[in-house]
């Protein structure tokens, strides 16, 4: 049995199911991170002092650059499918995956640096927030990488059978990925700079 509008768009809404689904998911993510940002504001305004310069700005900025670049490569990976350029698509998707990987390696260095100094999440309110927010964001990165790995590996077969559906999947993955990038765009100034 087939579910209608998995690939093609429903005329009255102009959407395929997945498109609406992924946006609804992102809406819930907005509320998830919203609650965490809200927590940040409340603890920050209630705090008697707030540490500065605890985090390495160059590393954070580097990670920002990595994620922004990965967003570009992600959207290119989708555009290449639209242009039926399979080879380029693979290249861009792989690049996105690699950039995400480097981001995580960077994060690993930052984390282990703190932990080595005995500054775990329980050390201060700032570090508690830092670890929780970036940890959750990191999990989102990992999730995105899992999906990309699937689309690079076994999931790629779909291109042969149903190129439109595969293109949609890449688009939805992209939407998610840009959202993860977007969250980081806020996390970076909030945690590293302010």
């Amino acid at each position: 049995m087939n579910i209608p509008y998995t690939v093609e768009e429903r005329p009255d809404s102009g959407l395929a199911n997945g498109k609406l689904g992924i946006w609804l998911f992102l809406a819930s993510e907005v509320m998830l991170f919203g609650a965490l940002f809200s927590t940040y504001i409340i603890l920050r305004t209630g705090a008697t002092e707030w540490p500065h310069g605890e985090l390495s700005v160059p590393l954070g900025a580097l990670n920002t650059v990595l994620l922004i670049s990965s967003s570009v490569t992600m959207v290119m990976a989708w555009a290449m499918l639209k242009l039926h350029n399979w080879g380029r698509h693979r290249l861009y998707l792989l690049a996105t995956f690699a950039l995400a990987g480097i981001f995580l390696v960077n994060k690993y260095f930052e984390y282990s640096d703190h932990l080595a100094r005995g500054e775990g999440p329980s050390h201060s309110t700032f570090l508690a927030i830092y670890f929780t927010l970036t940890g959750l964001h990191g999990l989102h990165i990992v999730g995105g990488m899992v999906v990309m790995a699937y689309l690079l590996g076994p999931g790629a077969k779909l291109w042969k059978q149903n190129p439109d559906q595969f293109t949609n999947r890449i688009e939805y993955t992209g939407l998610y990925w840009h959202f993860v990038d977007l969250v980081w765009i806020f996390l970076f100034p909030v945690l590293y700079l302010l």
Binding site: L24, A61, L193
Partner: protein, 113 residues
């Protein structure tokens, strides 16, 4: 709009340009931070830049500049409730009859006299 290859090809340049602009903004944020502005001002600047960057990502990479009404509707609703959620800090601290103070202060007078 993106469905036809010609439209997509035309967008390629835009994606790269926006990517570049985002990188430039990142540099600006870091640079602005170097200036050690007064805290409220620094927060404002950082947030303005972040919002600009975020909108660029949403509008261009996520194609939000050209979406269907259902998506806009869902996001509008989310935006409203997000605003409510961001007012939680305000609700928590602004209008309380209490004063923050540990029950047993360390070397201080707890009750105001």
């Amino acid at each position: 709009m993106h469905s036809d290859p010609a439209g997509v090809r035309a967008s390629l340049r835009k994606y790269v340009m926006i990517g570049a602009a985002l990188l430039v903004f990142t540099v600006i944020t870091v640079a602005a931070n170097r200036l050690h502005l007064a805290v409220p001002f620094a927060i404002t600047v950082a947030l303005i830049i972040a919002v600009t960057k975020g909108s660029m990502v949403a509008a261009v990479f996520m194609h939000l500049s050209n979406e269907k009404k259902w998506i806009y509707g869902a996001l509008l609703l989310t935006a409203i409730f997000f605003a409510v959620l961001m007012s939680v800090p305000f609700f928590t601290i602004m209008d309380s009859i209490g004063t923050p103070q540990p029950a047993i202060g360390v070397g201080e007078h707890p009750a105001g006299h």
